[in-house]
């Protein structure tokens, strides 16, 4: 059994990982922590910050800094979860790809390798309404999808 856990850096995706670890522990399953980093996010934040702070000339620098932080942040979360898997004797590895979240998630989830996909119900913007990505994915992901709150 192989479980794919979608990690977007939110609290909800970390809770999703806890559910996956709990199943993997009982089923001796392997967990893949999977995250997609979208460069356009860094670009959008850099643009908005530069416009407001009147430092449009430094936009490229901002973008690189934000991009670097995004990668560092998701890696840190994954390393913490890997450590937890290790503590719980669960076989776990991580995979970070660059691209558009929906496309990359579908490619990975529907690769035929996974018995279960686990994700958080909400995204990084907190507990507002159910994540729009989830709405897009729930119908088209082939393996069973666990949505965690």
């Amino acid at each position: 059994m192989k479980i794919l856990v979608l990690i977007d850096g939110s609290k909800w995706s970390q809770k999703a990982a806890l559910h996956a670890i709990s199943i993997a522990k009982k089923k001796h399953a392997k967990i893949i922590l999977f995250s997609v980093l979208d460069r356009r996010e860094a670009r959008a934040v850099a643009f908005n910050l530069s416009m407001r702070s009147d430092k449009l000339g430094e936009i490229k620098k901002f973008e690189e800094q934000i991009w670097h932080e995004m990668k560092k942040s998701v890696k840190e979360i994954m390393v913490d979860l890997l450590e937890l898997c290790h503590e719980e004797n669960v076989n776990c590895s991580m995979k970070i790809v660059e691209g558009i979240a929906r496309d990359e998630i579908l490619k990975e989830a529907n690769s035929g390798e996974y018995t279960l996909v686990v994700m958080g119900a909400y995204g990084k913007s907190g507990k507002t309404r159910i994540g729009s990505l989830l709405e897009e994915l729930a119908g088209v992901i082939k393996p069973p999808l666990m949505i965690v709150r």
Partner: protein, 181 residues
């Protein structure tokens, strides 16, 4: 938990005392607290079924077999509104025919799926009733720790509409983890 302490120390190394407490409180929906950083315990699982579902895929059984100690409840809900509509438009006889057919199909499906669970060493409780396919599941879910739903629960699905709107409504309203298959 050691891991949680190290995470907090790293993220909050420059923040102490009241400020730390306030940040934890105000940003609770973004930060996993120590109480939440535990492996979840699932004691009760609700599995709604209806006429749009014919089977549960083997991947779901494999996943659910991780919760063998939990209580499993299979519930088949017959749309009460459809029953009343048939009664009002086509008469009592037609509605009775609908009821009998739905009850017999429902029991057949419940028993068939219960047998699959029994092969895993799980003896589920079975329920069949007339009700509202979304509202009743949302209410029932409050007494369970996990919900397992087919993408087709409550309505037929197609290539262009691969998820039933009833499922989407339920997923938006319940507060427990949901497995959609």
């Amino acid at each position: 938990m050691g891991l949680f302490s190290s995470l907090i120390q790293r993220k909050f190394k420059n923040i102490a005392g009241k400020r730390y407490e306030r940040i934890l409180r105000e940003y609770r929906e973004f930060l996993l607290t120590e109480e939440e950083m535990v492996l979840p315990e699932i004691k009760s699982i609700l599995i709604p079924l209806d006429r749009f579902i014919s089977e549960i895929p083997k991947e779901v059984y494999e996943t659910l077999s991780a919760y063998k100690e939990a209580k499993f409840v299979l519930v088949y809900i017959i749309d009460a509104q459809v029953f009343h509509m048939i009664e009002q438009t086509l008469g009592r006889e037609a509605s009775e025919e609908f009821r009998k057919k739905e009850e017999s199909d429902g029991m057949y499906l419940l028993e068939k799926i219960a047998k699959d669970f029994e092969e895993l060493g799980i003896a589920p409780q079975l329920r069949l009733f007339f009700g509202d396919k979304s509202e009743d599941v949302i209410t029932l879910a409050e007494k369970h720790d996990m919900l397992v739903l087919s993408k087709a629960y409550g309505s037929e699905i197609t290539k262009t509409h691969p998820l039933s709107p009833i499922v989407l409504k339920i997923v938006q309203h319940v507060t427990i983890p949901v497995i959609v298959y």
